[in-house]
């Protein structure tokens, strides 16, 4: 058994949150550059140029890419040969708190959803834990902004709806969202599972690099179909018209109940902040 100190987790999470806020991920930067080259709308091209210039500034000056530094979401894979000397959830929350104060990130979390009250340090973090073989802990963060999150949705469909039903649902949600989620967007789709697992998978789907295709050719094909339909909507960068509305569609399929057919869409903006550390 290997022991990891909770303070090490706190320090690594602190750095992870700041890196995620300031440093645009390489796969996103590549996708945005390709989109700028392909975009036929002059306004759309200029918007993508500003987004890429923004990424250079935020990286060089270590300031947030976007002022909405998001809800701190974590996916944690804990090796079965690892022990943490303390409560890992507390360690992660401590890291978030330190990052958002020390890193001049915006504290956007209210304690009560109706009665308000800013928590002052962007906690609580939302953490999902999985147990995997090995002696490491992998921590992935996906700070999620409010604008794109608000445009997400879930449909408890019928098996008869089929793949076509899911494709139509996803494309429809993106169409309704229009400019609000800050296109160009990344789309995470969950299919199957229970109500809440389906939604979680839609978010988890966003973790797959934009450079990587879906390992299952059946779903890779479905992703391509959805991407094409979305980009033919004409919504474009910032919804001001263009062909580059979406940088990628990622699907996670999960076993389903014989009577259920849920599909969820988690829309993500072009900042698409995601960083990982392995301890």
């Amino acid at each position: 058994m290997r022991t990891i100190k909770s303070e090490e987790i706190t320090q690594k999470v602190r750095k992870l949150c700041m890196d995620a806020a300031y440093d645009l991920s390489p796969d996103v930067e590549n996708a945005l550059k390709k989109a700028m080259d392909r975009e036929i709308s002059p306004t759309g091209k200029e918007i993508l140029r500003q987004i890429l210039e923004n990424a250079k500034i935020s990286r060089n000056e270590q300031v947030p890419i976007c002022q909405d530094t998001g809800f701190s979401v974590f996916f944690v894979d804990i090796g079965d040969q690892v022990m943490v000397d303390g409560n890992i959830n507390d360690a992660i929350n401590k890291g978030v708190s330190q990052a958002y104060v020390d890193g001049y990130l915006r504290k956007s979390i209210l304690k009560d959803p109706i009665r308000g009250g800013n928590t002052g340090d962007n906690t609580p973090a939302i953490c999902y834990y999985d147990f995997v073989p090995g002696d490491k802990i992998k921590i992935v963060t996906l700070p999620k902004g409010g604008g794109s999150e608000n445009m997400s949705g879930i449909k408890m469909g019928r098996p008869a709806d089929g793949a076509e039903g899911i494709i139509n649902f996803v494309v429809q949600k993106v169409s309704e969202a229009g400019p609000n989620p800050c296109p160009p967007i990344v789309v995470g789709v969950g299919i199957g599972g229970t109500f809440e697992r389906c939604a979680l998978n839609a978010k988890k789907a966003l973790l797959r690099s934009l450079d990587e295709p879906n390992p299952d050719p059946f779903y890779a094909d479905m992703e391509k179909t959805i991407l094409e339909k979305i980009n033919n909507s004409g919504i474009g960068p910032q919804g001001l018209g263009g062909t580059m509305t979406c940088l990628g569609v990622n699907i996670i399929a999960f076993p389903r109940h014989i009577a259920s057919f849920p599909a969820a869409i988690n829309i993500e903006c072009h900042a698409h902040r995601h960083k990982e550390v392995i301890i």
């Binding site: 915006r106 229009g178 004409g234």
Partner: protein, 190 residues
């Protein structure tokens, strides 16, 4: 698609020249206000107290910046979703507000007021928050300090980049753009 360099306040002459799709660089003073401040502004009008600043010809920028680093004027300062301020906007346009900077769709009531009084809606690029903050050269508190980060401020800006989304005639780039490019993705790829 024309490019304009303008200075505040917005005169009828300036507004008349701006068409949906034009690129604009704004220099001068703009005011910031979000949901809570807007609510207070309307309350001030309805109670007869009056607004805490002269709104005639002015621009409001919908923004909630990240904290400024020591020595910096402001943190990252990209636009927030304008739609949340829609319930309050027609009244402010009636009082003299002539420009708004934000992102996202506006309600019919807002567009009607823009057409009736001659106002313009600009989009700043969402997520280009660090780039935008570089064009902000000063920040001064104006009202509602008790709202903390949501207080009303006056920002000095130089060549703040925006795009005209809805002009005084109600031409809407969100609609025009989408129509123009629908179906073009497959065409462009051949």
């Amino acid at each position: 698609m024309t490019e304009h360099k303008i200075t505040t306040p917005l005169t009828d002459d300036i507004i008349g020249k701006l068409k949906a799709g034009d690129t604009v660089f704004i220099t001068g003073s703009i005011y910031t206000a979000r949901d809570a401040a807007h609510k207070k502004l309307i309350e001030a009008l309805e109670s007869g107290k009056g607004l805490p600043f002269d709104i005639k010809g002015q621009i409001i920028y919908y923004v909630g910046p990240s904290p400024a680093k020591p020595g910096a004027v402001i943190g990252s300062a990209g636009p927030t979703t304008s739609g949340r301020m829609d319930p309050y906007t027609p009244r402010l346009i009636k009082e003299g507000l002539r420009g708004m900077i934000g992102k996202g769709l506006r309600s019919k009531d807002v567009v009607d007021a823009m057409i009736q009084y001659g106002a313009v809606y600009f989009a700043a690029v969402g997520g280009a928050a660090a780039l935008i903050s570089k064009t902000i050269t000063g920040s001064e508190p104006i009202a509602y300090d008790d709202l903390g980060p949501e207080s009303v401020k006056r920002l000095e800006v130089k060549d703040f980049p925006v795009i005209v989304v809805i002009d005084k005639h109600g031409n809407n780039l969100y609609e025009i753009g989408k129509k123009e490019y629908a179906g073009k993705y497959s065409e462009a790829r051949g």
